[in-house]
Amino acid sequence: MIKSDQLYHYSVVYGICGLLFLPILATFFYSISSSWGATILPDGLTFKWYLMLWQDMRFIDAFSRSLLISGAALLLCSLLILPLLFVVFYYFPKLQALFNLLILLPFAVPPVVSSVGLLQLYADSAFPLVGTPWILIGTYFTIAVPFMYRAIANSFSSLNLNDLMDSAHLLGASTRQAFFLIVLPNLKKGLLASLFLSFSFLLGEFVFANMLVGTRYETLQIYLYNMRQTSGHFTSALVISYFAFIFFFTWLASRFSRGTQQ
């Protein structure tokens, strides 16, 4: 009885994992096969698609643009959210309810919908934003906000902030010193976990990049989309390289978030 139960549970878990893994596996095999026409298995194996990809300057450029924009957006996000959360949690705890509602907005409004407004508002503004990386930094900031806010807010609520600040003040520290030397180091793990997680899905952002900027500032996803007409093996190598990065960053994120739970 127990054994057959275990067998069932393991087969469900492995079965669904297998299904989830199938597209990744297929893409991987496609990327290392020399040609794969109308047959079930590829003809031969090769690494030339990866060599081709990593020697393509357009790819390197697109990739570094993506890294730059995501990094800038996350830097902005941390710089604005950390003091915000400190002020909210320490001085005005009642504001928490308001911010919990505000940060739902990026979820409730799909990116396609936001970009309708963004296109009209900033296409002809005095300082034209549409088509420049600046608008992407702004919109990526809004995408990252809910995740960063939630993760850091969770760290704050497990921190016992008031006692910590009181003892710091008692020992003669100013509020600023207490923030930088006591609060911030305590938030490090939660902050890093949310940064890596946000980074990995900002790299995968396509909608805003496509609608607001397009080819004028080609990011990784736009490059990937524009390459769809070229060899499928080449795009597979691209997908797998991209997924390896995602893999790495989510792994980092889960390592740090496990650290916070303990």
Binding site: D5, Y8, H9, Y10, V13, I16, C17, L20, F21, L22, P23, I24, A26, T27, G37, A38, I40, L41, L80, I81, P83, L84, V87, Y90, F92, L102, L105, F107, A108, V109, P110, P111, V112, V113, S114, S115, V116, G117, L118, L119, Q120, L121, T142, G204, E205, F206, V207, N210, M211, Q221, L224, R228, G232, S236, V239, Y242, F243, I246, T250, W251
Partner: protein, 299 residues
């Protein structure tokens, strides 16, 4: 040193009211730290929404319901709505069921398998959009490996990845990891002893699930369902990459009205967007009432 003290002391006494005001202001000084965030958030999140709502009611610089009438008169746009809702509903329902079985079994396997699987699910949750569409073309396209394999065994005649059922498969694929991650913590509410107690009282396994487990989990299940629906309705990148905008869903319609090559009608796009948000809000409200009526609130 002495001098400054004697200078400020009388001034304090002379202007108690001003001092009081100054203190009150100082109490709100930390609020200044919220300003840059709020400005940026307003510019890139709130202002576009306001623009959309206002302009959806504008035609030729004045108030009108013209765009809404246009939507309800256009079979094409209505079809996009029904396609989107069909995809969203079924993909969410199917992935929710799959995730339920998945998580229920995940709770029963060894610790290290569980941790590895949760990390893996986390990663696949980020595997969506354009790369996912490409992976699906390789696997399930006209000459995809899986399509050929299934054809060889005579299980299918043909599989059109670029139509309704192909898209449903794709949607289910990116919804399952999300549903799993959302449901996983909720299963903490289930006490292992309950199942033992049910068995002792002679209940069958399905009776335990029907009468105990699912009612306890219902708030989490409903909450997950709404997030999945919202996620599916708002999905754009994967459909666009798979069908280059040829399959008629609502996000593709909106995008083509503002960034297409020929007919740009931002105000019509705004009206469709407003309807989309209304639908999402409506589903959320229904969901909230269902959650309120469910097990946990009665307790």
């Amino acid at each position: 040193m002495n001098n400054t003290v004697s200078q400020t002391a009388p001034s304090l006494r002379a202007q108690p009211l001003q001092q009081f005001r100054f203190n009150a202001l100082r109490r709100f000084k930390p609020l200044l730290f919220l300003v840059p965030f709020l400005v940026l958030f307003f510019l890139f999140q709130i202002a576009p929404v306001i623009w959309i709502i206002v302009n959806s009611f504008m035609a030729d610089q004045q108030f009108s319901l013209e765009h809404y009438q246009e939507i309800f008169a256009s079979a094409f746009i209505l079809q996009a709505f029904s396609n989107s809702l069909w995809l969203a509903f079924w993909s969410s329902a199917i992935s929710l069921c799959l995730a339920l079985f998945f998580v229920a079994s995940l709770r029963r396997v060894d610790c290290w398998v569980r941790d590895a699987v949760v990390s893996f699910t986390n990663m696949t949750a980020n595997f969506s959009g354009v790369p996912l569409a490409f992976a699906f073309i390789i696997l399930l396209g006209f000459n995809g490996a899986l399509t050929l394999l299934l054809k060889k065994f005579g299980l299918i005649d043909d599989f059109n990845l670029y139509g309704q059922w192909g898209l449903l498969t794709l949607y289910v694929y990116f919804q399952v990891p999300l549903a799993t991650l959302l449901l996983y913590p909720a299963f903490d509410a289930l006490n292992d002893d309950w199942q033992a107690a049910c068995e002792l009282l002679g209940a069958k396994k399905w009776q335990f699930w029907q009468q105990v487990a699912l009612p306890v989990l219902s708030p989490a299940i409903l909450g997950t369902f709404i997030i999945l629906i919202a996620n599916a309705i708002g999905a754009y990148a994967s459909v666009y990459a798979l069908t280059t905008g040829n399959y008629n869903v609502i996000t593709v319609r909106i995008a083509s009205l503002v960034s297409g090559d020929i007919f740009l009608e931002p105000n019509l796009a705004a009206a469709i967007s407003v309807l989309l948000m209304v639908i999402l809000a409506f589903i959320t409200v229904i969901n909230q009432t269902l959650i309120r009526r469910s097990y946990h609130d009665k307790k």
